[in-house]
């Protein structure tokens, strides 16, 4: 009997073995601040059976929403929004909810690995010391101009560190890219603000205080810029004032999840957006008896109506709505910016806002607050710059490429030739936490921690009226043998020695972050203040960041915008297919959610399709093509061909087909790999005037290939039995 292990002893042993409570990074950064303690010596605030909550920042996209993560006995159990964080005020999206499936993903890269040959899944595990040596050698044995960094949109602290590193080394600044930024056309938005208001920055659309919103393609309730914040604003638009319900009109050729919420959906022909905006502007000026400003003087209402396939009466009706509204607001976005004349559309929409005098006013257009620790909004690379970067790789001048936080092999159009260019680079080191396509083409993968295991901060680009720095801290001990990329780089720099080592003398990631945060101690208007950096860091962790209590949006003048001259024309299209191709970011799984099974199984909001790629075709068009639901069609553009199952979508123009972006992975783990198709394979590398990818400028042909592949969908389907799993 004495030999038996009592239940209590068993629990003790299990507790020590399986997980320790509450405390942060074990052997990683800041182990001098936090230590791994046994179960029997818990911190005094931890009780068995009670949860411990940590404030951190979501890294599923770059919006920087604050999270509160519930943990118990060293496991992260649930993410909720951080009610303090001004970006999301306690709310999250579906991706934020399932971020735990990334953390505990069975396909994570568990150790630093070396690949025998690129593309091969046969790898050898390394230890971290030799991994750091590889990085140190790469930094010291190559000339600075032979080193390149490619970074994702999050996290910002690592981007800052790499920026400092490259500056000290005399190498080129890191290039920053992300598929969401590409589909949001961020360069176009920034350029348009500069064109129209004379100041570059990310526009802020005050949806909540408007009473009429015209959205030209902006999918602001899905993945666009800061969807959680914009959904809250949308709520305000509809219900904040009991006496009036804000009205919402969406212009797009395929009804998106956002468009489905609109009171009026205007299926304008792709490419006609600029003409429509200017025509509405002209009609608004006439309705309000304003002298016709230069900006709208060239607009031709009849020609615009014809080009857009929308009646003149409809345009007049919309213009009278806009002219008579108290706080009208127009938003450019989505496919409207992804045409060859996307910048013209953005410019025209901002001019339309200027026409009704809402620039810099409540319910109108501002520039987003500039985040703490930065002088201005620095946009990610547009496609033009990415194309230059690919050319640089192709030239063979780059000997070592570091990649973190982005999966360009999957995200960039194939026509850019990135994979080919990467083969010219001698050494590629990926810091990916997941076995994605880019990691598969790398020689080494030195996996970073998951966002919930990491220190960091994110400079919030837009979504809040105040200037916000969202803070991240580890909520659990790293689950696998991963290491913070910042620590790897800092250690490698010290190993490499020389001037670089003395320029970046930081013990670890946290010390680097503190060196940045220290400038905020003396900053006015912070919602907390602290006398010195350790107290400041403690508050920063406790509240999940630092933000101002003031409205930091930049109010501009729109008067110059009306004096610009527009010579708008319809957009140009590539290829001679019969259909306009509209690729859109899948609202639920977005660009990187495909490896999370609950996101895969969450129904698409408008089609209810799960786990795969579909192509949306108008039922009338489908009848002409002789295709039914679930027939596989091949879609061919001048850049490539993909195959996908048909979904008969009643709310799309008959001359347009639409495909979600987010599936079609050739790697990225068991839930993503070999599933669906990637519409980026159909895109050419043509850009709009601001250098952003003209992703909505392809014409494609559609051909039935005589196969059927049943789509799993939530909505009822008759006669499905025995059909699944068969081609």
């Amino acid at each position: 009997m004495d030999k038996k292990i009592s239940r209590r002893d068993f629990l003790k042993v299990a507790g020590v073995g399986a997980a320790t409570t509450a405390v942060l990074t074990g052997c990683g950064p800041a182990s001098r601040l936090v230590t791994r303690e046994p179960y029997t010596k818990m911190p005094e605030y931890t009780y068995n059976g009670l949860s411990t909550y940590y404030a951190t920042t979501c890294r599923e996209c770059s919006a920087g929403c604050g999270l509160i993560v519930r943990t118990m006995q060293g496991r992260a159990l649930k993410t909720e929004g951080n009610q303090n964080n001004p970006v999301n005020l306690g709310k999250t999206c579906a991706r934020g909810q399932t971020t735990l499936e990334g953390l505990y993903n069975p396909d994570r890269v568990t150790d630093p690995i070396r690949r025998d040959s690129r593309g091969s899944t046969i790898v050898k595990k390394m230890d971290w010391d030799s991994a750091i040596q590889v990085v140190a050698d790469a930094l010291s044995k190559n000339r600075p101009d032979e080193i390149a960094f490619l970074m994702g949109l999050a996290p910002d602290h690592l981007f800052d560190l790499v920026t400092d590193l490259t500056k000290a080394a005399g190498a080129a600044a890191p290039v920053r890219f992300g598929a969401l930024g590409m589909f949001e056309a961020r360069a176009t938005l920034v350029q348009a603000a500069n064109d129209m208001f004379g100041q570059a920055g990310l526009p802020f659309f005050d949806i909540g205080n408007a009473d009429l919103v015209f959205s030209f393609g902006a999918n602001f309730l899905e993945t666009w810029l800061s969807p959680v914040a914009q959904t809250r604003e949308y709520s305000q638009l509809r219900r904040s004032n009991p006496n009036r319900r804000g009205y919402f009109v969406q212009f797009e050729s395929r009804m998106s999840q956002t468009g489905a919420k609109a009171d009026e959906w205007i299926p304008a022909k792709p490419g006609s957006e600029a003409l429509v905006v200017l025509a509405i502007g002209r009609l608004v000026a006439e309705a309000n008896n304003i002298t016709l400003p230069t900006a709208f003087s060239n607009a031709d209402v009849n020609a615009a109506a014809a080009a857009a396939d929308v009646s003149v009466d409809t345009l007049k009706h919309l213009a009278s709505l806009f002219a008579s509204a108290g706080h009208p607001l127009a938003i450019p976005g989505g496919a409207a910016l992804g045409g060859s004349n996307g910048l013209q559309v953005a410019d025209a929409v901002l001019a339309l806002n200027a026409l009704v005098g809402n620039v810099g006013k409540a319910g109108g257009v501002f520039l987003s607050p500039v985040a703490p620790l930065t002088d201005a909004y620095h946009r990610p690379a547009n496609l033009k710059e990415m194309s230059d970067f690919v050319d640089l790789l192709k030239s063979g001048k780059i000997k070592v490429l570091f990649v973190h936080g982005v999966n360009p092999v999957f995200e960039l159009p194939k026509s850019l030739g990135l994979e080919d260019a990467m083969s010219k680079v001698l050494q590629i080191i990926s810091f990916s936490s997941f076995p994605d396509e880019t990691a598969l083409q790398s020689d080494y993968v030195f996996p970073d921690h998951h966002g919930l295991e990491s220190w960091g901060y994110q400079k919030v680009a837009t979504g809040s009226s105040s200037s916000v720095l969202s803070g991240a801290q580890p909520v659990i001990v790293p689950f696998f043998n991963t290491k913070a990329t910042a620590d790897v780089l800092l250690a490698a720099v010290q190993k490499a020695g020389g001037a670089l080592a003395s320029a970046l003398k930081f013990k670890d990631e946290l010390e680097y972050i503190q060196s940045k945060l220290s400038s905020l101690i003396s900053e006015p208007d912070g919602f907390f203040s602290a006398p010195e950096i350790n107290t400041f860091t403690a508050f920063f962790q406790q509240y999940g960041g630092w933000w101002k209590t003031t409205d930091n949006r930049v109010a501009l003048s729109g008067s110059d915008a009306l004096n610009k001259t527009f010579n708008a024309s319809a957009a140009q299209f590539n290829g001679d297919g019969d259909f306009f191709l509209l690729p859109f970011v899948a609202p639920v799984i977005a660009e990187a959610g495909a490896n999370k099974p609950h996101l895969q199984e969450t129904a698409d909001p408008t089609t209810t399709v799960m786990w795969n790629t579909w192509v949306e075709i108008n039922p009338d068009t489908a009848r002409q093509l002789g295709v039914q639901n679930d027939d596989v069609v091949s879609i061919t553009s001048s850049a490539g061909t993909v195959e996908a199952s048909v979904y008969l979508y009643p709310a799309i123009r008959p001359d347009t087909i639409a495909m979600p972006f987010g599936q079609g992975h050739t790697a990225y783990g068991q839930f993503a790999q070999g599933r669906g198709a990637n519409p980026a394979d159909l895109l050419s590398n043509s850009t709009n005037e601001a250098g952003d990818l003209a992703f909505a400028s392809m014409k494609v042909s559609v051909k039935k290939i005589g196969k059927k592949r049943q789509l799993s969908r939530l909505e009822g389907v008759l006669g499905i039995y025995g059909k699944f799993g068969q081609q």
Partner: protein, 253 residues
């Protein structure tokens, strides 16, 4: 009738028996169909994923689904306002009288539908009788890491407050009863009533549009009672007389 089968509204002395009736409003004007509630519910309540093939057969297990229907045809087409549907926690619940083993029972004190997993033998009569199709059935051992190796790591985030269900068990939305019980225990230990807003189910907590309100609908002072008491409120399939505890606020103009 045994007490747990009685409804508080049948009680001779409701003031004494009723602790408070939980209910919910869903504002369809605000719901953007973003699926945050669906994901939040699944993560909170250990709802399994079933994979593409089973999902295609209609075996996906989410406790909430967001319905949308099309009205009209192109170009005069509209999507009906998104409608999240979960267990409506009916007062006269059609699922209850058909259960041969009393797995689907009624809480007399709170007018909730309870599902007792360890009584359930999987006859599926309740799902058959539910007019809202709110119940989901475990066709396989979806939560067994021995059968699904991918769950060995994924199971680390499972909520210890919620039972993991196995094959042959019927389940449904519980109004996050673990959160209700937690709040009730806290209130009891502090010798006070539950405050309005103290219980927030996972769906309502996540909802970026704040379309979901939860609370006690028998107290006219709560937010949820006030939200439900407008001209916009209605119940799903009202004509069946199930008296659901979820009120939908009409969307659209």
């Amino acid at each position: 009738m045994p007490k747990e089968l009685q409804s508080p509204m049948d009680s001779a002395n409701p003031a004494q028996d009723v602790q408070g009736i939980w209910g919910m409003t869903i504002d369809q004007d605000l719901c953007t169909g973003c699926q945050a509630c669906v994901a939040a519910c699944s993560m909170e309540n250990n709802v399994p994923f079933v994979g593409e093939v089973d999902a295609g057969y209609g075996r996906s297990m989410q406790w909430i689904r967001i319905e949308r229907f099309w009205q009209g045809s192109y170009p005069n087409i509209k999507a009906t306002p998104y409608q999240p549907v979960m267990c409506q926690n009916c007062h006269n619940a059609p699922c209850e009288p058909v259960c041969p083993v009393f797995a689907s029972v009624h809480s007399a004190s709170e007018d909730l539908n309870l599902q007792v997993y360890n009584r359930c033998v999987g006859t599926r009569y309740c799902a058959n009788n539910c007019p809202y199709q709110a119940r989901v059935f475990n066709w396989r051992d979806y939560m067994d890491p021995r059968q699904r190796p991918e769950l060995v790591t994924l199971s680390n985030h499972w909520n210890p407050d919620v039972t993991v269900r196995r094959r042959g068990i019927m389940e449904k939305c519980t109004f996050c009863i673990q959160r209700i019980r937690h709040a009730e225990d806290t209130a009891a230990s502090e010798n006070r009533d539950i405050r309005d807003g103290e219980v927030v189910p996972a769906c309502a907590q996540a909802c970026p549009a704040s379309a979901i309100t939860f609370g006690r609908i028998n107290d006219p002072a709560t937010k949820v009672s006030q939200a439900a008491d407008t001209s916009r409120g209605s119940h799903l399939l009202e004509e069946l007389g199930t008296i659901p505890h979820v009120t939908y606020l009409a969307g659209g103009a």
